[in-house]
């Protein structure tokens, strides 16, 4: 069964090679789209297998666990791969129009596909050092994408992004070294039982090292400063895929490590996480309130929303983890979509700076509706996906009598509405300062389709999750059960045939 797990990695890498070969022709973008669609098929297949068997694991290179590199997908991994593939398809369609020939020649599509491969690899690896390698694959391609085009703002943002992420990478590597020294294994399933016989105090130190390393990747308080410094500078397709996927890899790694391996001293580590969650939510949303550029507002909201996912992990009850998983999926769709919409808004009005734009409601009502769906979902309006995600998390915090954090979660939801109404009022309701009527018809029809199809698709997903949340919540429940009782995961990994 190893090819089920290997395919989602092989496809983006092969696509990257093909896209690199065709980077000077017009077909490069279509190659990238074809690769993304194939990846989606592979992800659906993987999901079907995982739903059927619970956990799918395979040993690469013919070495049995725990010595070789294991690829493993449980429900959380499978859903993350699936959502990655969905975002990849959406962004690949959008990039047909958004990425110009100069950027294509600089190998945008190759970098994009390597980035997707890195993200997928991080989700399905079962080996800690291999996770580090996938992080690096993801990081180096994201560096390339971020500064592609080389405008001074991009270089400025890039310096901060690169610097802080490299520091986090080195902390991750040090943590791996220490954990290996203590246990003698790097296989995550094997580590789960191996850490029980080690010095628990020292293990907590290593756990905090991992918390900081993944905290930088996930952009939690007080380690998030690279994110609002850089996410508004690259092309819109790039910031959409970054906003959707990159920080969520950090959150995923944190959920994986702090449910599977570092669950020995919950009173200490998860209390830190709870504080971090609350402060991340508040600083993020307040930071957004101070911004006046659509992409900067949205960047700060990524930070604020990460807090909700960390909250689910910090509470570590079944219901809280359901909320975290549900939130993760909902957030990726919504956030990527909002950045894509910001791209169309910029195309029509010439800027993303709120004081320089306006009039979109009157002249482009379709875009206005498409904006309202993810914006309301982000703020948590029923019946959209964000409402259920927030509802589950708040309910989980009330159940554990964590009154303050429940209050913070509700307050931050309220402040999110403030930011969204700010964008709505200034970009959509107020007339354009230069009396321009930014009509969608100024773009020709193929352009409109390429830009609006992915937005409409992602918005439709948001509505579907919102209107029919039961299967998704049931799925998240199964996934949370797997996370809290890792025995089947461990058994699947250690017994998987090479």
């Amino acid at each position: 069964m190893s090819w089920v797990l290997a395919l989602p990695l092989i496809i983006p890498f092969l696509t990257a090679v093909a896209a690199f070969m065709t980077r000077s022709s017009k077909s490069g973008a279509w190659v990238s789209l074809a690769g993304a669609i194939l990846l989606l098929l592979a992800a659906i297949f993987l999901m079907a297998q995982v739903l059927d068997q619970g956990v799918v694991a395979a040993q690469m290179g013919g070495w049995g666990a725990p010595f070789g590199i294991t690829l493993v997908a449980d429900l959380l991994s499978a859903v993350m791969v699936l959502i990655t593939a969905i975002v990849a398809v959406a962004v690949a369609i959008y990039a047909l129009e958004d990425i110009n020939a100069a950027k294509e020649h600089l190998a945008y599509h190759a970098l994009f596909n390597v980035l997707i491969a890195g993200v997928v690899g991080a989700f399905i690896t079962g080996d800690l050092f291999n996770l580090y390698v996938w992080f690096e694959v993801m990081l180096i391609s994201s560096f390339g994408l971020l500064v592609l085009g080389g405008r001074p703002e991009q270089i400025d943002g890039g310096v901060k992004y690169v610097a802080l992420n490299l520091v986090s990478t080195i902390m991750f590597l040090t943590g791996i070294g220490l954990l290996y020294g203590m246990t003698g294994t790097l296989n995550m399933a094997d580590l789960a039982s191996a850490v029980e016989d080690t010095d628990q105090k020292l293990l907590t130190v290593v756990a905090v090292l991992f918390m900081i390393a993944f905290g930088v990747k996930a952009a939690v308080f007080p380690l998030f400063f690279w994110l609002p410094a850089s996410y508004h500078t690259p092309a819109f397709s790039v910031s959409a895929v970054f906003a959707g996927l990159l920080t969520k890899v950090g959150v995923y790694a944190m959920i994986r490590m702090f449910t599977l391996i570092f669950d020995h001293d919950i009173g200490f580590t998860h209390t830190i996480l709870l504080w971090v969650a609350g402060l991340t939510m508040i600083t993020g949303v307040l930071g957004a309130a101070a911004q006046t550029d659509i992409r900067k507002i949205l960047s700060f909201h990524i930070v604020s929303q990460i807090g909700y996912m960390i909250l689910g992990l910090a509470l570590l009850t079944p219901l809280a983890l359901v909320g975290a998983v549900f939130y993760l999926v909902h957030h990726i769709i919504v956030k990527a979509n909002l950045f894509l919409i910001a791209g169309v808004a910029e195309r029509l009005t010439g800027s993303t700076e709120l004081s320089k734009i306006g009039g979109l409601y009157k002249s482009a009502p379709l875009l206005a509706v498409l904006f309202l769906i993810p914006a309301f979902s982000l703020a948590g309006f029923p019946p959209l996906s964000g409402f259920w995600a927030k509802f589950v998390l708040v309910k989980a915090s009330l159940e554990t009598e964590a009154w303050i954090i429940a209050g913070v979660a509700l307050l931050v939801g309220l402040l999110t509405i403030y930011s969204m109404t700010k964008i709505w009022a200034q970009a959509f309701w107020e007339p354009h300062p230069n009396e321009i009527e930014p009509k969608l018809t100024t773009l020709d029809r193929p352009t409109q389709i390429k830009l609006l199809l992915p937005i409409a698709g992602l918005a439709a997903l948001t509505v579907i999750i919102g209107l029919f949340p039961e299967p998704f919540v049931a799925f998240a429940e199964r996934s949370a059960t797997q996370l809290l009782d890792p025995a089947p995961y461990i058994a699947a990994v250690l017994e998987a045939k090479p």
């Binding site: 500064v147 270089i155 901060k160």
Partner: protein, 134 residues
């Protein structure tokens, strides 16, 4: 051998933290090189040191005879060095590019992506205060 290496790692990290916090991008890169070497040494020492016994398997045998050094940390360090090399190459080029297009290497002066509204607001506030006191 271990205490010596542990002290070396400590010194490397101290120096690199000093360099990274000194507010200059080139020094930051040097600090990063040092701290990544410290991380590599950490992995190496964590895998236990065995002196003078390379992990070689004699011809015809399936496993090494007797006690040999742990080969896994060596492989990990090698991977980390290769990856680190690539990242530093990129980081140095990026810093050079920052120098040519922003003409500064002090991160505090790089304000293109994040214009310093705070300083501006402070200035206006001061001006307002002056107005009211007069």
């Amino acid at each position: 051998m271990e205490p010596l290496l542990a002290i070396t790692i400590g010194v490397l990290i101290t120096c690199s933290v000093y360099l990274m916090l000194s507010g200059h991008l080139l020094r930051f890169i040097f600090g990063l090189v040092l701290i990544s070497n410290a991380a590599n040494l950490t992995i190496f020492v964590a895998g236990r040191l065995t002196e003078g016994a390379p992990p070689l398997i004699p011809e015809g045998a399936d496993a090494p005879l007797g006690e040999v050094a742990n080969a896994l940390p060596q492989a990990l360090v090698l991977t980390a060095i290769v990856i680190g090399f690539g990242l530093f190459a990129f980081a140095i080029v990026l810093v050079f590019r920052a120098w040519t297009s922003l003409s500064t290497l002090h991160p505090d002066e790089m304000e293109l992506a994040e214009p310093n509204y705070g300083a501006h607001a402070k200035a206006t506030k001061l001006a307002l205060k002056k107005d009211t006191t007069q």
